[in-house]
């Protein structure tokens, strides 16, 4: 079923290829972008993994090929190299681009429910289970007179031994 490309098709292909190459459909992080200091680079890298490429779909700027992601990677490294702490870099980016840039939303009034769900389910679910188990366990019925007598008889027998 394999057909070679020929004629116009090949021409178009070559054009498309050149175009895509010129656009620089690059691999996310480039060697040239990386910081010389490996400790700083590691910090910058970890940071960029938690920042969203805002023109992409659920990609961090570390993973993304988009030009905007590249600009942000460079920006983050500039700030890190200038001595900003992780929190300062995040603050700076949020001030500029909004909360949307953080892949991990900050704990706050707006995200209370989001962060609270796992705890809420465990606590409420656990409570429900505890109540259900307790409700199901019937209290032992008091012994009848006949049973009382038999019990006393058995106890007496044991005493004799």
């Amino acid at each position: 079923m394999r057909r070679p490309l020929h004629g116009i098709a090949l021409h178009v292909a070559a054009l498309a290829f050149a175009f895509a190459t010129a656009l620089g459909a690059a691999l996310a992080l480039e060697p040239g972008e990386m910081l010389k200091d490996s400790a700083l680079e590691a910090r910058a890298r970890a940071l960029t993994k938690t920042l969203r490429c805002m023109v992409c779909q659920n990609e961090s700027i570390d993973d993304s090929n988009a030009p905007l992601a590249r600009d942000l990677r460079v920006l983050v490294r500039e700030r890190v190299a200038a001595g900003d702490s992780d929190a300062q870099v995040r603050e700076f980016l949020v001030a500029r681009y909004g909360e949307f840039i953080l892949l991990e939303p900050r704990f706050g009034a707006r995200t209370l429910l989001l962060w609270g769900v796992p705890v809420l389910v465990i606590v409420l679910g656990g409570l429900g289970v505890a109540l259900a188990i307790r409700a199901k366990r019937p209290a032992p019925a008091p012994l009848s007179e006949e049973e009382q007598r038999r019990l006393a008889a058995i106890l007496n027998e044991n005493k004799k031994l």
């Binding site: 394999r2 057909r3 895509a20 659920n58 909360e99 892949l103 707006r110 769900v117 796992p118 679910g125």
Partner: protein, 658 residues
Amino acid sequence: MIAELSHYALVLALALAIMQAVLPLWGAAKNDATLMGVAEPVAIANFAFVALAFAGLTALYIGSDFSVTNVFENSHSAKPLIYKITGVWGNHEGSMLLWVLVLALFSAFVAAFGGNLPARLRANALGVQGLIATAFLLFILTTSNPFLRLEPAPAEGRDLNPILQDLGLAIHPPLLYLGYVGFSISFAFAVAALLEGKIDAAWARWVRPWTLAAWVFLTLGIAMGSYWAYYELGWGGFWFWDPVENASVLPWLTGTALLHSALVVEKRDALKIWTVLLAILAFSLSLLGTFLVRSGVLTSVHAFATDPTRGVFILAILAFFIGGSLALFAWRAPELKPGGIFAPVSREGALILNNLLLTAAAATVLTGTLYPLALEALTGEKISVGAPFFNRTVGPLMLLLLVLMPAGPLLAWKRGDALGAAQRLVLAGGIALAAVILLYITAGGSLMAAISLFVAVFAIAGAITEFAERIQLFRVSAGELFSRAIGLPRAAYGSIFAHAGIGLALLGIVAESNWSTERIVALKPGDQVSIASFNLGYTGIGRREGPNWIEDVGRFEVRRGGTLVAVAEPAKRVYVARGMPTTEASIHTFGLGQLYVTINDPEQGGGVSARIYWKPLVLLIWLGPVLMAVGGVLSLSDRRLRIGAPRRAARAAVAPAE
């Protein structure tokens, strides 16, 4: 002609689906055997007509009939045959047709092999299946018809999205749909049970094999999708917490919970109401997943559909089935009698804890996926909920689940001995601790890495402990050990394999995220890079041509201790028809680890920047789920379940005409 005939077959399938929905349910309500008896032949005929339509669409793709809009938009004459076939479901319309095909297939199975089910239960279940089929066939015919013609017919098609031109497309969606749609059977049985107001151990025995089968497919489908993303997307990640991935994980979490709770219903006649609810939820979340993906409400790579009318239609389907079944649940569940009593520390208690943690994980994933949508709709505020959030919330829940997992099978039903179980797990705990100490010294890592490693090794050692306990290792003679191992029910092996499998998967994840090494380097021909124990020599770049693409391919000679062990050929590829570039990673497996190489676009003079990873034990991430699926299949083949449901299948296969 093929398009018109297939279209007609689909319309007939709709008519049959309506019959399948109305008559058996009516019959069951009236206790009319004749009406109920309609269900089986109609379900089988419905499957035949949907299959006919699907075969027709496949024929159109193979013949490259570009007068059909769907084929024109998603195929190309130069595309290899395999991708012409898989392209059938590599688009919205075709994938919906596959969805309905799988649904009809399951219905036909229940009709053909469900002979030992009580007549009313079977009629009600098939009726509910018919309702689902009706809704989705209506959806396809009115909003997503794959058989519409184009006038005039174009000479060439637009080709399939290059990312989808991969063997992964042949396997991943069908497996995933078998899983998603398989839960429709548990759903149908749950609704049928609610309609009858009766649920007992026998019911659980009928439901479990179907749920188990769906779970096996879903497990494999998710693992396959993960591996596909890993090698295709080119940055070595295996899980992205993408909304679409989350949509597949939701039914998996609830389905896993359902498997465990159905066990309690079967053995102890308890937890019935909760199990029915889980059966409803598992399929509801499958439907929700279909909605999220198909409506394009969450834009992500997988969302091919962007037409809002479709979204509204699926939303209506969602509201009808989820709302309807939950209303029925609220109305009828109180009539189900609660069953056996048990102490908190018992097998039942352990399974409830399992359910609680799985439900919490599912609730977290669901909330995380929908929260940004809801917040934006309510306040206009845009936030992102991405991988770091899910790792921080779902991660600990799963770790807790896995560290408690080995204790469950060691506890007795009704009243367990917590201390005894703990004593039996001392050895497993010791092994896990030793592994942590050993690897911490040699490889290092964060505290989280140490905890996760402990849990992973403990889960695996715990599964082995379960096996040792069951055959009474160290307590009986070698000969008796053997006969005990043979005599162990397959379901026991199933649980041991599945529990070891999830431990292995976690081990792979821990290794991948903590001990992977990465090099990002700019290279000129003749340059060398070392990574882990490998040395890669970059020799240069060349151009290669495929049936519908061209690529720049780099060549790396991989040496280990001086000997050539592999030649890595990562490439940047462009698909001709769409002019779309893709990254083709080169992956070589050494033991359970993989050497993963990708390149960037080449520069003048043959220079290139490359990304090279060594990922130790990474294969465990996918081999773990495979082992889990093997466990599922073993459990499915257990005598107990065969007696429960599909036993007649074997006989029917030998003598079909009676």
